[in-house]
Symmetry: C2
Amino acid sequence: MSSSAPDRRLRADRARQAADVIRQQVVQRAYPDGVLPDERFLAAEFSASRNTIREALDLLREEGLIERVPGVGTVVVTEKYPHGLGRLMGLAETLHEHGEVTNDVRAAGPIKPPSSVARRLGLADGEPVVYVERLRRLGGLPLSLDLTYLPVDVGTPLLGEDLRNRDIFSLIEQTSGRRLGTAEVALEAVNADLHSAAVLEVPRGAALLVVERLSRFADGRPVDLEFIRMRGDRLTMRAECRRTP
Amino acid sequence: MSSSAPDRRLRADRARQAADVIRQQVVQRAYPDGVLPDERFLAAEFSASRNTIREALDLLREEGLIERVPGVGTVVVTEKYPHGLGRLMGLAETLHEHGEVTNDVRAAGPIKPPSSVARRLGLADGEPVVYVERLRRLGGLPLSLDLTYLPVDVGTPLLGEDLRNRDIFSLIEQTSGRRLGTAEVALEAVNADLHSAAVLEVPRGAALLVVERLSRFADGRPVDLEFIRMRGDRLTMRAECRRTP
Protein backbone atom coordinates (compact mmCIF):
# COMPACT_ATOMS: atom_id res chain seq x y z
CA MET A 1 0.00 0.00 0.00
CA SER A 2 1.33 3.42 -0.86
CA SER A 3 1.18 6.32 1.54
CA SER A 4 -1.56 8.90 1.18
CA ALA A 5 -2.17 12.40 2.45
CA PRO A 6 -3.74 12.18 5.93
CA ASP A 7 -6.91 13.97 4.79
CA ARG A 8 -7.62 11.69 1.84
CA ARG A 9 -8.26 8.39 3.55
CA LEU A 10 -11.12 6.03 4.28
CA ARG A 11 -13.66 7.28 6.75
CA ALA A 12 -12.98 4.23 8.95
CA ASP A 13 -9.33 5.25 9.25
CA ARG A 14 -10.23 8.81 10.12
CA ALA A 15 -12.82 7.61 12.63
CA ARG A 16 -10.26 5.41 14.40
CA GLN A 17 -7.85 8.31 14.50
CA ALA A 18 -10.44 10.53 16.21
CA ALA A 19 -11.62 7.73 18.50
CA ASP A 20 -8.10 7.18 19.87
CA VAL A 21 -7.76 10.82 20.87
CA ILE A 22 -11.25 10.96 22.37
CA ARG A 23 -10.63 7.71 24.29
CA GLN A 24 -7.62 9.26 26.00
CA GLN A 25 -9.62 12.38 26.80
CA VAL A 26 -12.28 10.19 28.41
CA VAL A 27 -9.72 8.14 30.37
CA GLN A 28 -8.00 11.30 31.57
CA ARG A 29 -11.37 12.78 32.61
CA ALA A 30 -10.87 15.78 30.36
CA TYR A 31 -14.59 16.30 29.71
CA PRO A 32 -16.33 18.27 32.49
CA ASP A 33 -19.20 16.32 34.08
CA GLY A 34 -18.43 13.40 31.78
CA VAL A 35 -20.37 14.94 28.90
CA LEU A 36 -18.64 14.98 25.51
CA PRO A 37 -18.79 18.07 23.27
CA ASP A 38 -21.47 17.83 20.58
CA GLU A 39 -20.81 16.35 17.15
CA ARG A 40 -20.58 19.72 15.44
CA PHE A 41 -17.84 20.84 17.87
CA LEU A 42 -15.96 17.54 17.54
CA ALA A 43 -16.19 17.68 13.75
CA ALA A 44 -14.50 21.10 13.78
CA GLU A 45 -11.97 19.99 16.40
CA PHE A 46 -10.92 16.97 14.33
CA SER A 47 -11.30 18.66 10.92
CA ALA A 48 -13.62 15.78 10.09
CA SER A 49 -17.14 15.30 8.79
CA ARG A 50 -19.98 14.68 11.24
CA ASN A 51 -20.33 11.19 9.79
CA THR A 52 -16.72 10.48 10.69
CA ILE A 53 -17.27 11.74 14.24
CA ARG A 54 -20.42 9.63 14.54
CA GLU A 55 -18.42 6.59 13.48
CA ALA A 56 -15.68 7.43 16.00
CA LEU A 57 -18.25 7.69 18.79
CA ASP A 58 -19.76 4.38 17.66
CA LEU A 59 -16.36 2.73 18.21
CA LEU A 60 -16.15 4.05 21.77
CA ARG A 61 -19.76 3.05 22.40
CA GLU A 62 -18.94 -0.49 21.26
CA GLU A 63 -16.12 -0.50 23.83
CA GLY A 64 -18.67 0.38 26.51
CA LEU A 65 -16.93 3.67 27.29
CA ILE A 66 -19.66 6.12 26.33
CA GLU A 67 -23.40 6.11 25.78
CA ARG A 68 -25.89 8.37 24.02
CA VAL A 69 -28.44 9.81 26.42
CA PRO A 70 -31.40 11.55 24.77
CA GLY A 71 -31.64 15.17 25.83
CA VAL A 72 -28.16 15.13 27.39
CA GLY A 73 -25.77 14.07 24.64
CA THR A 74 -22.91 11.62 24.67
CA VAL A 75 -21.82 10.75 28.20
CA VAL A 76 -19.00 8.75 29.74
CA VAL A 77 -20.44 5.61 31.34
CA THR A 78 -17.36 3.68 32.48
CA GLU A 79 -14.68 5.09 34.69
CA LYS A 80 -11.24 3.70 34.02
CA TYR A 81 -8.82 3.70 36.93
CA PRO A 82 -5.09 4.25 36.54
CA HIS A 83 -2.78 1.53 37.85
CA GLY A 84 0.90 2.46 38.01
CA LEU A 85 3.17 -0.15 36.48
CA GLY A 86 6.39 1.46 37.63
CA ARG A 87 5.67 1.25 41.33
CA LEU A 88 4.94 -2.03 43.08
CA MET A 89 1.68 -1.37 44.89
CA GLY A 90 -1.37 -3.32 45.91
CA LEU A 91 -4.72 -2.46 44.37
CA ALA A 92 -6.20 -0.96 47.56
CA GLU A 93 -3.09 1.21 47.99
CA THR A 94 -3.25 2.30 44.34
CA LEU A 95 -6.95 3.07 44.22
CA HIS A 96 -7.51 4.39 47.74
CA GLU A 97 -8.72 7.74 46.45
CA HIS A 98 -11.23 6.14 44.08
CA GLY A 99 -13.04 3.96 46.60
CA GLU A 100 -12.87 0.91 48.78
CA VAL A 101 -11.31 -2.29 47.46
CA THR A 102 -12.80 -5.50 48.86
CA ASN A 103 -11.90 -9.07 47.99
CA ASP A 104 -14.08 -12.15 47.66
CA VAL A 105 -11.64 -14.82 48.84
CA ARG A 106 -12.57 -17.70 46.51
CA ALA A 107 -9.88 -20.09 47.75
CA ALA A 108 -7.08 -20.00 50.31
CA GLY A 109 -4.87 -22.83 51.50
CA PRO A 110 -1.87 -25.03 50.79
CA ILE A 111 -1.44 -26.84 47.47
CA LYS A 112 1.26 -28.78 45.67
CA PRO A 113 2.22 -26.37 42.87
CA PRO A 114 3.18 -27.28 39.30
CA SER A 115 6.95 -27.41 38.94
CA SER A 116 7.16 -24.22 36.87
CA VAL A 117 5.52 -22.29 39.72
CA ALA A 118 7.88 -23.90 42.27
CA ARG A 119 10.85 -22.93 40.09
CA ARG A 120 9.70 -19.32 39.73
CA LEU A 121 9.43 -19.09 43.53
CA GLY A 122 12.87 -20.68 43.99
CA LEU A 123 11.41 -23.74 45.70
CA ALA A 124 12.39 -27.38 45.34
CA ASP A 125 10.05 -29.57 43.30
CA GLY A 126 7.40 -31.02 45.59
CA GLU A 127 7.51 -28.23 48.18
CA PRO A 128 3.98 -26.98 48.91
CA VAL A 129 2.87 -23.37 48.46
CA VAL A 130 -0.06 -21.34 49.72
CA TYR A 131 -2.62 -20.54 47.03
CA VAL A 132 -5.01 -17.61 47.36
CA GLU A 133 -7.65 -16.71 44.79
CA ARG A 134 -9.49 -13.42 45.06
CA LEU A 135 -12.09 -11.55 43.07
CA ARG A 136 -11.22 -7.94 43.73
CA ARG A 137 -13.87 -5.23 43.69
CA LEU A 138 -13.84 -1.46 43.76
CA GLY A 139 -17.01 0.00 45.23
CA GLY A 140 -18.58 -3.44 44.88
CA LEU A 141 -17.90 -3.85 41.14
CA PRO A 142 -15.46 -6.53 39.94
CA LEU A 143 -12.08 -5.17 38.82
CA SER A 144 -9.81 -8.18 38.71
CA LEU A 145 -9.43 -11.86 39.44
CA ASP A 146 -6.10 -12.64 41.14
CA LEU A 147 -4.48 -16.08 41.49
CA THR A 148 -1.60 -15.92 43.97
CA TYR A 149 1.12 -18.44 44.88
CA LEU A 150 3.23 -17.85 48.01
CA PRO A 151 5.99 -19.87 49.70
CA VAL A 152 4.61 -21.58 52.81
CA ASP A 153 6.60 -19.49 55.31
CA VAL A 154 5.32 -16.27 53.71
CA GLY A 155 1.79 -17.43 52.87
CA THR A 156 0.71 -19.37 55.95
CA PRO A 157 0.68 -16.35 58.30
CA LEU A 158 -1.62 -14.56 55.81
CA LEU A 159 -4.34 -17.18 56.12
CA GLY A 160 -5.36 -15.84 59.55
CA GLU A 161 -5.34 -12.22 58.38
CA ASP A 162 -7.98 -9.99 56.84
CA LEU A 163 -7.62 -11.09 53.21
CA ARG A 164 -11.06 -9.64 52.51
CA ASN A 165 -10.04 -6.04 53.12
CA ARG A 166 -6.26 -5.91 52.88
CA ASP A 167 -3.74 -6.08 50.00
CA ILE A 168 -1.52 -9.16 50.02
CA PHE A 169 1.55 -6.91 49.63
CA SER A 170 0.88 -5.05 52.84
CA LEU A 171 -0.01 -8.27 54.68
CA ILE A 172 3.26 -9.90 53.55
CA GLU A 173 5.25 -6.92 54.79
CA GLN A 174 3.34 -6.82 58.08
CA THR A 175 3.54 -10.53 58.91
CA SER A 176 7.11 -11.06 57.69
CA GLY A 177 8.51 -7.77 59.01
CA ARG A 178 10.35 -7.41 55.69
CA ARG A 179 9.97 -5.03 52.76
CA LEU A 180 9.19 -6.02 49.21
CA GLY A 181 11.75 -4.87 46.63
CA THR A 182 11.14 -5.33 42.93
CA ALA A 183 8.81 -7.28 40.66
CA GLU A 184 8.92 -8.53 37.09
CA VAL A 185 5.71 -7.99 35.17
CA ALA A 186 4.51 -9.55 31.91
CA LEU A 187 1.35 -8.12 30.45
CA GLU A 188 -0.95 -9.39 27.71
CA ALA A 189 -4.36 -8.67 26.21
CA VAL A 190 -6.61 -11.74 26.21
CA ASN A 191 -10.30 -12.29 25.40
CA ALA A 192 -12.31 -13.37 28.44
CA ASP A 193 -13.36 -17.02 28.38
CA LEU A 194 -16.95 -17.87 29.27
CA HIS A 195 -16.37 -18.65 32.94
CA SER A 196 -13.91 -15.84 33.70
CA ALA A 197 -16.32 -13.46 31.97
CA ALA A 198 -19.11 -14.59 34.31
CA VAL A 199 -16.92 -14.09 37.39
CA LEU A 200 -15.79 -10.63 36.27
CA GLU A 201 -19.31 -9.72 35.09
CA VAL A 202 -18.27 -8.85 31.53
CA PRO A 203 -19.48 -10.26 28.18
CA ARG A 204 -17.71 -13.36 26.94
CA GLY A 205 -14.78 -12.30 24.79
CA ALA A 206 -14.32 -8.93 26.52
CA ALA A 207 -10.71 -7.71 26.35
CA LEU A 208 -8.83 -8.34 29.60
CA LEU A 209 -5.37 -7.30 30.71
CA VAL A 210 -3.66 -10.47 31.92
CA VAL A 211 -0.66 -9.82 34.13
CA GLU A 212 1.90 -12.25 35.48
CA ARG A 213 3.87 -10.63 38.29
CA LEU A 214 6.69 -12.12 40.34
CA SER A 215 7.46 -9.99 43.39
CA ARG A 216 10.60 -10.26 45.51
CA PHE A 217 11.75 -9.25 48.95
CA ALA A 218 14.32 -6.45 48.94
CA ASP A 219 17.07 -9.11 49.18
CA GLY A 220 15.92 -10.65 45.88
CA ARG A 221 14.07 -13.71 47.19
CA PRO A 222 10.92 -14.36 45.09
CA VAL A 223 7.89 -14.47 47.42
CA ASP A 224 4.70 -13.77 45.48
CA LEU A 225 3.73 -15.08 42.03
CA GLU A 226 0.43 -13.72 40.75
CA PHE A 227 -1.70 -14.26 37.67
CA ILE A 228 -4.10 -11.33 37.38
CA ARG A 229 -7.04 -10.83 35.01
CA MET A 230 -8.08 -7.19 34.92
CA ARG A 231 -11.19 -5.83 33.27
CA GLY A 232 -9.99 -3.87 30.26
CA ASP A 233 -12.93 -1.50 30.55
CA ARG A 234 -12.04 -0.50 34.11
CA LEU A 235 -8.25 -0.28 34.37
CA THR A 236 -5.49 1.56 32.52
CA MET A 237 -1.87 0.69 33.25
CA ARG A 238 0.58 3.59 33.38
CA ALA A 239 4.33 3.46 33.10
CA GLU A 240 7.37 5.64 32.46
CA CYS A 241 10.20 4.47 30.30
CA ARG A 242 13.64 5.77 29.40
CA ARG A 243 15.64 5.72 26.22
CA THR A 244 18.76 4.50 28.02
CA PRO A 245 18.21 2.01 30.82
CA MET B 1 -18.86 -16.09 48.79
CA SER B 2 -16.87 -17.91 51.45
CA SER B 3 -13.38 -19.19 50.85
CA SER B 4 -12.83 -22.86 50.03
CA ALA B 5 -9.88 -25.23 50.07
CA PRO B 6 -8.02 -24.86 46.74
CA ASP B 7 -8.64 -28.51 45.80
CA ARG B 8 -12.41 -28.40 46.27
CA ARG B 9 -13.48 -25.94 43.63
CA LEU B 10 -15.33 -25.86 40.34
CA ARG B 11 -13.54 -27.50 37.46
CA ALA B 12 -13.69 -24.19 35.53
CA ASP B 13 -11.73 -22.48 38.32
CA ARG B 14 -9.12 -25.22 38.37
CA ALA B 15 -8.87 -25.17 34.57
CA ARG B 16 -8.25 -21.41 34.56
CA GLN B 17 -5.59 -21.84 37.22
CA ALA B 18 -3.75 -24.44 35.11
CA ALA B 19 -4.25 -22.44 31.88
CA ASP B 20 -2.56 -19.36 33.36
CA VAL B 21 0.55 -21.32 34.25
CA ILE B 22 0.66 -23.12 30.90
CA ARG B 23 0.16 -19.81 29.05
CA GLN B 24 3.27 -18.38 30.69
CA GLN B 25 5.21 -21.54 29.86
CA VAL B 26 4.18 -21.14 26.22
CA VAL B 27 5.02 -17.43 26.13
CA GLN B 28 8.41 -18.11 27.71
CA ARG B 29 9.09 -20.90 25.21
CA ALA B 30 9.54 -23.45 27.98
CA TYR B 31 8.28 -26.40 25.91
CA PRO B 32 10.97 -27.90 23.66
CA ASP B 33 10.01 -27.82 19.96
CA GLY B 34 6.75 -26.09 20.91
CA VAL B 35 5.08 -29.40 21.83
CA LEU B 36 3.22 -29.51 25.15
CA PRO B 37 3.54 -32.50 27.48
CA ASP B 38 0.67 -34.96 27.13
CA GLU B 39 -2.53 -34.70 29.18
CA ARG B 40 -1.52 -37.49 31.56
CA PHE B 41 1.73 -35.68 32.42
CA LEU B 42 -0.02 -32.31 32.80
CA ALA B 43 -2.70 -33.87 35.02
CA ALA B 44 0.00 -35.16 37.39
CA GLU B 45 1.92 -31.88 37.18
CA PHE B 46 -1.15 -29.83 38.14
CA SER B 47 -2.62 -32.42 40.57
CA ALA B 48 -5.75 -32.19 38.41
CA SER B 49 -8.04 -34.55 36.53
CA ARG B 50 -7.54 -35.06 32.80
CA ASN B 51 -10.88 -33.38 32.22
CA THR B 52 -9.61 -30.29 33.99
CA ILE B 53 -6.45 -30.29 31.88
CA ARG B 54 -8.52 -30.72 28.71
CA GLU B 55 -10.60 -27.71 29.73
CA ALA B 56 -7.44 -25.69 30.43
CA LEU B 57 -6.07 -26.53 26.97
CA ASP B 58 -9.42 -25.59 25.44
CA LEU B 59 -9.06 -22.11 26.95
CA LEU B 60 -5.62 -21.65 25.37
CA ARG B 61 -6.89 -23.04 22.08
CA GLU B 62 -9.70 -20.47 22.13
CA GLU B 63 -7.03 -17.78 22.56
CA GLY B 64 -5.32 -19.08 19.42
CA LEU B 65 -2.16 -19.97 21.34
CA ILE B 66 -2.12 -23.75 20.84
CA GLU B 67 -3.64 -26.31 18.50
CA ARG B 68 -4.24 -30.05 18.58
CA VAL B 69 -2.36 -31.84 15.81
CA PRO B 70 -3.32 -35.50 15.32
CA GLY B 71 -0.33 -37.78 15.78
CA VAL B 72 1.79 -34.99 17.28
CA GLY B 73 -0.14 -33.71 20.29
CA THR B 74 -0.79 -30.18 21.45
CA VAL B 75 1.50 -27.67 19.77
CA VAL B 76 2.18 -23.96 20.12
CA VAL B 77 0.90 -22.15 17.03
CA THR B 78 1.43 -18.48 17.85
CA GLU B 79 4.70 -16.97 18.91
CA LYS B 80 4.39 -14.05 21.28
CA TYR B 81 7.18 -11.51 21.20
CA PRO B 82 8.35 -9.65 24.29
CA HIS B 83 8.28 -5.86 24.21
CA GLY B 84 10.10 -4.12 27.06
CA LEU B 85 8.05 -1.39 28.69
CA GLY B 86 10.87 -0.06 30.84
CA ARG B 87 13.12 0.93 27.99
CA LEU B 88 12.08 3.34 25.27
CA MET B 89 12.80 1.44 22.06
CA GLY B 90 11.37 1.20 18.59
CA LEU B 91 9.79 -2.06 17.46
CA ALA B 92 12.57 -2.93 14.97
CA GLU B 93 15.19 -2.30 17.68
CA THR B 94 13.25 -4.42 20.18
CA LEU B 95 12.53 -7.34 17.88
CA HIS B 96 15.71 -7.39 15.78
CA GLU B 97 16.54 -10.91 16.88
CA HIS B 98 13.08 -12.22 15.97
CA GLY B 99 12.95 -11.00 12.39
CA GLU B 100 12.60 -8.00 10.15
CA VAL B 101 10.11 -5.27 10.92
CA THR B 102 8.61 -3.51 7.90
CA ASN B 103 6.02 -0.76 7.83
CA ASP B 104 3.15 -0.12 5.43
CA VAL B 105 3.03 3.66 5.53
CA ARG B 106 -0.72 4.27 5.28
CA ALA B 107 -0.54 8.04 5.63
CA ALA B 108 2.16 10.65 6.08
CA GLY B 109 1.88 14.41 5.96
CA PRO B 110 0.88 17.60 7.75
CA ILE B 111 -2.49 17.97 9.47
CA LYS B 112 -4.19 20.39 11.82
CA PRO B 113 -4.36 18.37 15.05
CA PRO B 114 -7.19 18.35 17.59
CA SER B 115 -6.39 20.71 20.46
CA SER B 116 -5.76 17.91 22.97
CA VAL B 117 -3.01 16.54 20.72
CA ALA B 118 -1.51 20.02 20.30
CA ARG B 119 -1.55 20.48 24.09
CA ARG B 120 0.15 17.12 24.72
CA LEU B 121 2.91 18.13 22.29
CA GLY B 122 3.28 21.53 23.92
CA LEU B 123 2.09 23.36 20.78
CA ALA B 124 -0.18 26.36 20.43
CA ASP B 125 -3.72 25.68 19.26
CA GLY B 126 -3.83 25.79 15.47
CA GLU B 127 -0.16 24.85 14.92
CA PRO B 128 0.07 22.00 12.40
CA VAL B 129 1.71 18.65 13.13
CA VAL B 130 3.02 15.82 10.97
CA TYR B 131 0.83 12.71 11.08
CA VAL B 132 2.22 9.27 10.19
CA GLU B 133 0.15 6.10 10.18
CA ARG B 134 1.90 2.75 9.85
CA LEU B 135 0.89 -0.88 9.86
CA ARG B 136 3.91 -2.61 11.33
CA ARG B 137 4.79 -6.17 10.38
CA LEU B 138 7.24 -8.73 11.66
CA GLY B 139 8.25 -11.24 9.03
CA GLY B 140 5.35 -9.98 6.92
CA LEU B 141 2.63 -10.56 9.56
CA PRO B 142 0.82 -7.57 11.11
CA LEU B 143 1.92 -6.77 14.67
CA SER B 144 0.61 -3.27 15.32
CA LEU B 145 -1.09 -0.24 13.86
CA ASP B 146 0.62 3.00 14.92
CA LEU B 147 -0.81 6.52 14.68
CA THR B 148 1.91 9.11 15.27
CA TYR B 149 1.79 12.88 15.79
CA LEU B 150 5.01 14.90 15.56
CA PRO B 151 5.76 18.64 15.80
CA VAL B 152 6.46 20.02 12.33
CA ASP B 153 10.17 20.71 12.94
CA VAL B 154 10.69 17.13 14.11
CA GLY B 155 8.30 15.37 11.73
CA THR B 156 8.92 17.11 8.40
CA PRO B 157 12.50 15.82 7.97
CA LEU B 158 11.18 12.26 8.48
CA LEU B 159 8.91 12.46 5.44
CA GLY B 160 11.89 12.07 3.10
CA GLU B 161 13.37 9.19 5.09
CA ASP B 162 12.90 5.42 4.91
CA LEU B 163 9.73 5.15 7.00
CA ARG B 164 9.08 1.73 5.49
CA ASN B 165 12.12 0.09 7.10
CA ARG B 166 13.18 2.33 9.97
CA ASP B 167 11.81 3.04 13.46
CA ILE B 168 10.54 6.59 13.96
CA PHE B 169 12.61 6.85 17.16
CA SER B 170 15.88 6.26 15.37
CA LEU B 171 14.85 8.55 12.50
CA ILE B 172 14.01 11.34 14.96
CA GLU B 173 17.39 11.01 16.64
CA GLN B 174 19.21 10.86 13.31
CA THR B 175 17.51 13.83 11.67
CA SER B 176 17.37 16.03 14.78
CA GLY B 177 20.81 15.11 16.09
CA ARG B 178 19.25 14.87 19.56
CA ARG B 179 18.56 11.95 21.88
CA LEU B 180 15.17 10.91 23.17
CA GLY B 181 14.87 10.83 26.95
CA THR B 182 11.74 9.48 28.63
CA ALA B 183 8.19 8.57 27.69
CA GLU B 184 4.89 8.27 29.52
CA VAL B 185 2.89 5.20 28.58
CA ALA B 186 -0.77 4.38 29.17
CA LEU B 187 -1.86 0.88 28.31
CA GLU B 188 -5.31 -0.65 27.91
CA ALA B 189 -6.94 -3.82 26.65
CA VAL B 190 -9.57 -3.14 23.98
CA ASN B 191 -11.61 -5.37 21.66
CA ALA B 192 -10.75 -4.84 17.99
CA ASP B 193 -13.42 -3.02 16.02
CA LEU B 194 -14.41 -4.39 12.62
CA HIS B 195 -12.12 -2.20 10.53
CA SER B 196 -9.05 -2.33 12.79
CA ALA B 197 -9.49 -6.10 12.94
CA ALA B 198 -9.40 -6.27 9.15
CA VAL B 199 -6.23 -4.16 8.99
CA LEU B 200 -4.48 -6.21 11.69
CA GLU B 201 -5.81 -9.48 10.22
CA VAL B 202 -7.48 -10.67 13.44
CA PRO B 203 -11.10 -11.63 14.12
CA ARG B 204 -13.44 -8.79 15.06
CA GLY B 205 -13.40 -8.42 18.85
CA ALA B 206 -9.89 -9.86 19.28
CA ALA B 207 -8.17 -8.48 22.36
CA LEU B 208 -5.69 -5.72 21.51
CA LEU B 209 -3.19 -3.85 23.65
CA VAL B 210 -3.81 -0.17 23.05
CA VAL B 211 -0.93 2.07 24.05
CA GLU B 212 -0.75 5.83 24.20
CA ARG B 213 2.86 6.94 24.44
CA LEU B 214 4.25 10.47 24.70
CA SER B 215 8.00 10.55 24.12
CA ARG B 216 10.28 13.45 24.96
CA PHE B 217 13.71 14.68 24.04
CA ALA B 218 16.25 14.38 26.84
CA ASP B 219 15.58 18.04 27.72
CA GLY B 220 11.90 17.23 28.39
CA ARG B 221 10.33 18.63 25.21
CA PRO B 222 7.48 16.35 24.02
CA VAL B 223 8.14 15.31 20.41
CA ASP B 224 6.25 12.14 19.57
CA LEU B 225 2.67 11.23 20.54
CA GLU B 226 1.63 7.74 19.44
CA PHE B 227 -1.53 5.70 19.62
CA ILE B 228 -0.62 2.06 19.09
CA ARG B 229 -2.88 -0.97 18.63
CA MET B 230 -0.93 -4.18 19.19
CA ARG B 231 -2.19 -7.66 18.46
CA GLY B 232 -2.71 -9.32 21.83
CA ASP B 233 -1.88 -12.72 20.38
CA ARG B 234 1.55 -11.60 19.18
CA LEU B 235 3.00 -9.27 21.81
CA THR B 236 3.67 -9.43 25.53
CA MET B 237 4.74 -6.29 27.37
CA ARG B 238 7.40 -6.69 30.03
CA ALA B 239 8.27 -4.34 32.84
CA GLU B 240 10.12 -4.13 36.14
CA CYS B 241 8.70 -2.27 39.07
CA ARG B 242 9.92 -1.28 42.51
CA ARG B 243 8.22 -1.08 45.86
CA THR B 244 9.68 2.37 46.53
CA PRO B 245 9.87 4.69 43.53
